[in-house]
């Protein structure tokens, strides 16, 4: 079993603070990538598509908000602002512009972790239950544990496969275009590479099918020819 750990991009310019936060987040089960500047943060975002971004605003080479904008342009990845600016105005601006939460430094690690769990849970969309777990038939996706189970058995998915499934499951019954999947999982640069999506979805279907003896997952992901995919309306496992 290879339950992947949720990945966090930690953007913070103060070295000691970043080091200690990263240590704490790793111990709390996250896969942490660190960035001290806007530039490196954007690189990480482009290359690795973290599940979550923790973002400081005052960075040496620019405003942390530019990282938020870059992420929002392509995906709904949760962004939690962690800033020394505590005024109401700064919070309102950041939240209005797409941040999911705003914490003021210095923050306790217990609160920080609780907030991160909360935004991850919410990120699973309205399909998720109180623990953030999304269920659709025999398929179960746990964003906190970063694990997918079919009929109780863990399915070994690659990060991309996991992200595609999470995206589709969070919009049950709705069409999700290939372009949208590409943007959210690979990034703007991959626009047009529809076959990437095709290949990964096939692989995903295959893995889910293999894990499920009952054949319940066969009709889970429906292809809308030439457009994208749709996950059937969620129905609890009987």
């Amino acid at each position: 079993m290879s339950a992947r750990r949720p990945s966090v991009l930690l953007v913070e310019d103060d070295d000691p603070t970043r080091t200690e936060l990263a240590r704490n987040l790793r111990l709390n089960g996250y896969d942490v990538m660190e960035a001290a500047m806007v530039e490196t943060a954007l690189q990480h975002w482009e290359q690795r598509r973290p599940d979550l971004i923790v973002l400081d605003l005052g960075l040496p080479d620019g405003d942390g908000m530019s990282v938020l904008f870059a992420a929002r342009k392509e995906a709904t990845t949760p962004v939690v602002i962690l800033s020394a600016r505590g005024e109401e105005r700064a919070k309102v601006v950041a939240l209005n512009r797409g941040a999911d939460d705003y914490l003021t430094k210095p923050v306790g690690t217990a609160e920080l972790n609780a907030r991160l769990r909360a935004v991850l849970r919410r990120a699973a969309g309205p399909a998720a239950d109180a623990q953030g777990i999304v269920r659709n038939g025999s398929v179960e996706l746990d964003p906190m544990a970063h694990v997918v189970r079919v009929a109780g058995r863990v399915v070994d998915l690659t990060p991309r496969e996991y992200q595609i499934l999470a995206l589709l499951l969070s919009h049950p019954g709705h069409l999700v275009t290939r372009g949208r999947i590409l943007r959210a999982v690979w990034g703007e640069a991959y626009q047009g590479d529809d076959h990437l999506v095709h290949v990964h979805v096939s692989k995903l279907r295959q893995k889910l099918g293999e894990a499920d003896a009952s054949g319940d997952t066969r009709g889970l992901i429906v292809t809308e020819p030439g457009v994208g995919y749709r996950v059937r309306e969620a129905r609890p496992e009987s």
Binding site: T19, E20, L27, P106
Partner: protein, 531 residues
């Protein structure tokens, strides 16, 4: 012309008559001379000269008097039959009537001229006096300081006996702030005085007698003072008080106008002073607000950043659900220790800043070896420096410096910490010292992005931040101010310049200890050669 005219006026009616008589006698003699031996038939016109002269000098009545007298004299002495007032020839009547008409006309003209001249003189004096008041006010630093000058001008130009100015603040009794008289300042307000009642429009102001009910009347006031109230913005600020010359009666119209104008100008000047002070106060309040918010922002960042690290590290250690390795625990504990030390420096800087600003620094100067201070600082900042390379060049021949080692420690720590903020890990910070003739120069420089030339001179100002560069980060702006304050308190000097390494170089010049001259000179020569 106005001069003699004004002078003649002072002769009075008796003098005028006497002079007219002399002139008539002189004219008579001339007529006698011309008519008799020379035989000029119309010499009577000579009397015109006396009539014109008298009328011009003493006015119409004198002119009429002179012409009647001339008529009678001429009639009596020269008109046939002589030595009687009978006029036989009707032609002589014409002569006499002409004399009379000329006398009256010239008298009138001269009187009008004189009155105009006198008005002009009075106006000029009034204008000069007002100009004196205006000039005193225009060149003032504060209105209060020119009140003496204004009182002097009024005393001189309004022909007064004594002028004093009383000021009342906020309804209090007036306090005499300027007085041309000597001795005890007059009691204000007196039992009884005249006050100037201003009239709307062109109507002249008038003096009104006032009795102060609360003041017991002096037994017999020698004279009653005149008061002009100073007003600004419909508020009474004080008064100009004047005592007229003995027996002079109330000030004349011109003098009254002068007093009123002076009072108006003073009132306006006080109003301007008040507005200027309000503007100054507002400016001061604004500046101090700006400084306060800059300090708060700076302090909140400088304190919160280490606190953020401390809380994160403490969270790792204390969370029972986590299972940190031994290395993790040690590293987090070290971070707490290091950041607590950093916090301590921030607090020390803040305290030093307030001591610097309050002038309360008391350095304990002693001969100190630079390396004794530099090394411990670097040791303490080792964790802070992380993987940055610190290149220390302190020659063995370096003389001792006269410093307070505690201050110098703080100076070096601030400079190194400042450099750290802008130097990425793996890059260089250089600390070196060279002896100069009477000084030792310690330089801390970095390979960071540097500071634009125009910002170098402002670098040590409180809360100054270099704009538009990567050095622009919140929270800086106290460290270098403290460096300068501490250095200057020890009699040293600190300057900033671009570094050869690409970043910023800060030179701290310190007094060198007196001995070891020889070594220093050798070193100086070596440095000179190197350049």
């Amino acid at each position: 012309m106005p001069g003699p005219l004004a002078g003649w006026r002072a002769w009075g009616p008796v003098g005028a008559s006497a002079i007219t008589a002399v002139m008539l006698l002189f004219a008579t003699a001339l007529v006698e001379l011309l008519e008799g031996p020379v035989g000029v038939p119309t010499a009577s016109a000579t009397y015109l000269l006396a009539v014109i002269g008298s009328a011009a000098l003493f006015g119409t009545p004198a002119g009429i008097g002179a012409s009647v007298a001339a008529f009678l004299l001429y009639d009596f002495l020269f008109v046939e039959p002589r030595y009687t007032f009978t006029v036989a020839d009707p032609g002589e009547w014409l002569n006499l009537i002409l004399l009379l008409v000329v006398g009256i006309a010239v008298g009138q003209l001269a009187a009008a001229l004189r009155s105009r001249a006198e008005t002009a003189i009075a106006r000029e004096r009034e204008a000069r006096a007002l100009f004196g008041v205006s000039r005193a006010l225009a060149t003032r630093v504060s209105t209060m300081r020119v009140l003496d000058a204004v009182a002097d001008v009024l005393l001189r130009e309004a022909h007064l006996d004594r002028v004093w100015i009383g000021m009342a603040r906020g309804g209090a009794a007036e306090r005499v702030v300027a007085d041309t008289g000597s001795g005890v300042a007059p009691r204000t307000p007196p039992a009884s005085y005249y006050t100037l009642r201003r009239m709307p429009g062109e109507t002249p102001a008038e003096w009104v007698r006032v009795h102060t009910p609360t003041v017991t009347r002096a037994a017999s006031p020698a004279s009653v003072p005149y008061r002009v109230i100073l007003e600004a913005n419909a508020q009474t600020l004080g008064s100009i008080w004047a005592m007229t010359r003995e027996g002079g009666g109330p000030p004349a119209a011109a003098e009254t106008r002068l007093l009123a104008a002076a009072a108006d100008q003073l009132g306006q000047a006080f109003e301007q002073d008040r507005l200027a002070e309000e503007a100054r106060n507002a400016e001061v309040a604004l500046r101090s607000d700006e400084l306060k918010s800059a300090l708060l922002e700076s302090v909140s960042h400088d304190l919160r950043t280490p606190l953020a690290t401390i809380r994160a590290a403490a969270g790792t250690i204390m969370d029972r659900h986590l299972d940190p390795s031994r290395e993790d625990v040690v590293a987090s504990a070290e971070a707490i220790d290091r950041e607590a030390d950093h916090l301590n420096r921030v607090v020390t800087n803040l305290l030093d800043l307030s001591r610097i600003e309050g002038g309360a620094l008391r350095p304990e100067i002693e001969p100190t070896e630079l390396s004794d201070v530099v090394q411990p600082v670097l040791e303490r900042l080792r964790a802070h420096l992380a993987k940055r390379v610190v290149d220390v060049e302190l020659p063995d021949t370096l003389p001792l410096v006269l410093v307070d080692p505690v201050y110098l420690d703080q100076i070096i720590a601030n400079l190194v910490e400042n450099a750290c903020k802008y130097v990425p890990e793996g890059q260089e910070i250089r600390i070196r010292a060279i002896p100069l003739t009477e000084l030792v120069r310690l330089t801390v420089e970095d390979s960071g992005p540097g500071v634009p030339d125009e910002s170098l001179s402002h670098l040590f100002e409180k809360f100054y931040r270099v704009s538009g560069s990567r050095r622009s980060r919140p929270g800086t702006g106290i460290g270098l101010t403290v460096v300068r304050g501490l250095t200057e308190a020890m009699g040293g000097r600190v300057t900033a310049r671009p570094s050869e390494l690409g970043g910023l170089a800060v030179d701290v010049d310190m007094q060198r200890a007196a001995d070891e001259d020889e070594t220093a000179h050798e070193a100086d020569a070596a440095i000179g050669g190197a350049r």
